[in-house]
């Protein structure tokens, strides 16, 4: 589904991302971990054609993301609050995204009905604009909006951050369900090793922009990751 080739990004002489080859097959649930500055958000931004890679390319579906816009119709993403429109209410925002993805109000309502628990009665029918919601509630809106219109690829940057424990557990349930669907490719980044090992079948560790581990998730994965991140000396310099 997604193919990264010889990708690098350099800001005034400092290389923040450098991935030679990475292939994410269709239907995989893919987890990205790494410390601050490892290049997670940079990778996702490049994947969404929001930044221009210094070298290399990313292919999403049939075409390269910077050459054709075809990927936009099957890819949904939530990176940060700049993916929300502050002056809309939650409903209006969902309908807006729905219209862009060819879904009418009834389709969107049907989808939202499945998230009543997740929203915990704090989102819908509240007569509040998104800019006035708390950070956690904003995040819930952004995450659910990515599910509108049956996308094939879903990209979530740190979806667990800022969420309360109950919502984190529910979100894990949602992502796990997506992961079992062999048509949907999910890409998630996280600082929470427990969450990410629970929901992803494959985990990639970035450090200083380089791919240092590529693990197929198993019983031992969490231990391995914990050992790696508690190390004294960095592996790669």
């Amino acid at each position: 589904m997604i193919h990264i080739h010889n990708l690098s990004k350099t800001y005034s002489g400092v290389t923040v991302l450098n991935i030679e080859e990475l292939h994410i097959p269709k239907g995989e649930s893919f987890g990205l971990v790494g410390n601050n500055g490892a290049g997670k958000t940079t990778l996702f931004s490049a994947l969404l054609d929001l930044i221009q890679p210094t070298t290399g390319y990313i292919q999403n579906g049939e075409s390269k993301v910077n050459e054709s816009e075809a990927w936009k119709s099957h890819t949904a993403s939530f990176i940060d609050e700049s993916f929300l429109i502050g002056y809309l209410t939650a409903e209006e925002y969902f309908y807006f995204i729905g219209e862009l993805r060819g879904q009418n109000k009834a389709d969107v309502d049907a989808l939202l009905a499945g998230f009543t628990d997740f929203f915990n009665d704090e989102i819908l029918g509240k007569r509040k604009y998104l800019r006035d919601l708390s950070k956690g509630n904003q995040k819930k809106v952004g995450i659910v909006a990515t599910l509108i219109g049956n996308p094939d690829v879903i990209i979530l940057d740190e979806p667990f951050a800022n969420l309360d424990p109950t919502t984190q557990i529910r979100l894990k349930g949602i992502i796990k369900k997506l992961a079992t669907d062999r048509d949907i490719t999910v890409l998630v980044s996280s600082h929470d090793l427990i969450h990410v090992t629970e929901v992803c079948e494959r985990i990639v560790v970035l450090e200083k922009g380089k791919l240092v581990k590529d693990i197929k998730t198993s019983e031992a994965t969490l231990k391995e990751l914990e050992a790696y991140f508690s190390k004294e000396e960095p592996l790669v310099e």
Binding site: L48, D49, L50, I51, Q52, E69, K72, S73, T75, S77, I79, D80, S82, F83, L84, I85, G86, Y87, L88, T89, E91, E92, F96, I97, E99, L100, R101, G102, K126, R127, K128, Y129, R131, D132, G149
Partner: protein, 489 residues
């Protein structure tokens, strides 16, 4: 402690995003400030001699109208000057005395441009008074009294943060009083002028505004000290959301999705509302030209200029900043299933619709003869056909993020100046004037108007071609634009 505050201010000023831009911009900012200072200074000197020449006693006449000056100042302050709330939050947790923080914030408002600029009017005026042999002591007390009144306004404004109704009321009262006076029905000035004149005539009277200013400072100080909490004075008010049904727009097809969004954008954000008010003001701009009030404006070329502005108020104040209006969520727009053409077309449609409305509202100019309205009409056609595209093109180069919820910088976004946007201004204003001039000097004014209108119609004909061009520019600028919008002030 004061040293820390000053240090923070210094850094916030010189490290602000607006200041860190290029040299050209800094020069523009300096020129802008000098322009206002010069204007007020000239007014200060000119007021005396102008009034004297017209046969009035300058000081008495000025005092007579001072009530309007003071009230108008209050409105301007309300519209443009805000309490610097944001800068206070990080200070709360640091070992600063709360009273000191309030002193600092209020002191900062005192040094605001909106207060200082009045000094540039009153000081030259007072100097002229002295030079003309007015009694020095009396002039000084009058001057102090006036400046104290400006500061009274300053502290009133501190309380007024969200009293729009009051300010609209005040504005209507001023307009009403002005109209009543103009038509000779009722004149308020004889009732209030003695107070202002008294500041000169009676030595001790200047103490009244000075004491009022000090008292208001104390009250404001107490008021803020009590409310120095995140959920009180420092809270950002949450608006109650209104939902509206704009389904009637669906007839415009895919474009409607964005059109509906843009209408919500305009209705629900402070900054964009100001823009709409501005475009209404532009409607009246033509009065300066068509009434023959200003001599240098009274020629046919300036009338085309006026026609462009009367019909294009919205185009210039809103269209100019497409796509910056969407800056807060530009990454969303860039990753959604959106075709650039549709996005641009919806913005274009909005601008064209608004221009059409302005052109119709401009029918009032028929009062000044058919030529006046002809200028507005052809200006409107040109705006819709040509300028509608040109502003979209220019927008691609104006990479200033817009903070929708704040009114700051609504008047003249300084960073909008760069060489490319200046170049793009040429076809917006100079080209129609040039076209008109060609017609005017060959076959007469009617031909001139026809040429301008024709250019507009031609613009419509090349619409799809223009959109392709604009689209490619937007695509080329995409990454730079996203990066620029990420930078907040």
């Amino acid at each position: 402690m004061i040293k820390h505050f000053i240090n923070l201010e210094w850094k916030s000023f010189f490290r602000s995003a607006a200041f860190q831009t290029n040299l050209v911009l800094k020069i523009f900012m300096a020129l802008g400030a000098l322009y206002f200072i010069g204007l007020f200074t000239l007014a200060g000197v000119g007021a005396y001699f102008g009034l004297e020449e017209a046969g009035y006693e300058p000081l008495q006449t000025l005092n007579k109208f001072m009530i309007y000056y003071v009230l108008f100042d209050l409105i301007i302050k309300y519209m443009l000057q805000k309490m610097p709330v944001v800068n206070i939050k990080p200070l709360l947790l640091l070992p600063f005395n709360k009273a000191k923080i309030v002193d600092f914030a209020l002191g900062k408002t005192m040094l605001s441009f909106f207060n200082i600029v009045h000094a540039f009017f009153f000081i030259p005026f007072s100097v002229v008074l002295l030079a003309q042999g007015y009694d020095a002591l009396h002039v000084i007390t009058w001057h102090l009294g006036m400046m104290a009144l400006i500061y009274v306004n300053n502290f009133i404004n501190v309380f007024l943060n969200d009293a729009m109704a009051l300010v609209v009321g005040l504005g209507s009262v001023i307009l009403g009083l002005g109209a009543l006076q103009y038509y000779g029905i009722f004149d308020i000035t004889p009732y209030v002028a003695p107070f202002f004149q008294g500041l000169y005539d009676t030595l001790w009277m200047f103490a009244i505004p000075v004491i009022a200013a000090i008292a208001l400072y104390k009250v404001a100080h107490g008021y803020f000290l009590k409310r120095l909490y995140l959920d009180a004075g420092l809270a950002v008010k949450a608006q109650k959301a209104s939902t509206e049904n704009l389904d009637w727009l669906d007839r415009f097809g895919k474009t409607a999705t964005f059109l509906k969004n843009d209408i919500k954008l305009i209705k629900r954000n402070k900054r964009s509302k100001t823009t709409v008010i501005m475009s209404v003001v532009f409607l009246f701009y033509g009065l300066l030209f068509f009434t023959g009030g200003i001599e240098s404006y009274d020629n046919p070329f300036m009338k085309i200029f006026a026609g462009i502005f009367v019909s294009g108020g919205f185009l210039f104040s809103f269209g100019q900043f497409v796509p910056s209006w969407d800056s807060a969520y530009y990454p969303l727009m860039m990753t959604q299933n959106i075709r650039y053409q549709e996005y641009l077309k919806s913005k274009w449609m909005l601008v064209v619709l608004a221009t059409a409305v302005s052109t119709i509202l401009g029918l009032g100019y028929l009062y000044f003869g058919w030529e006046a309205y002809a200028a507005v009409l052809v200006g409107g056609i040109y705006n819709m056909g040509v300028n509608g595209h040109v502003v979209l093109l220019g927008g691609a180069y104006i990479k200033t993020p817009i903070d929708l919820t704040s009114n700051k910088k609504a008047f003249g976004d300084s960073s909008a100046f760069n060489v490319k946007t200046l170049l793009i201004t040429i076809p917006k204003l100079l080209l129609p004037i040039a076209l008109y001039a060609i017609g005017h000097f060959t076959l007469g004014p009617v031909f001139g108007y026809a040429l301008v209108a024709l250019a507009g119609v031609a613009g419509f004909a090349f619409r799809d071609f223009m959109f392709k061009k604009i689209e490619s520019v937007y695509k080329a600028e995409k990454y730079k634009t996203i990066a620029a919008y990420k930078q907040k002030n």
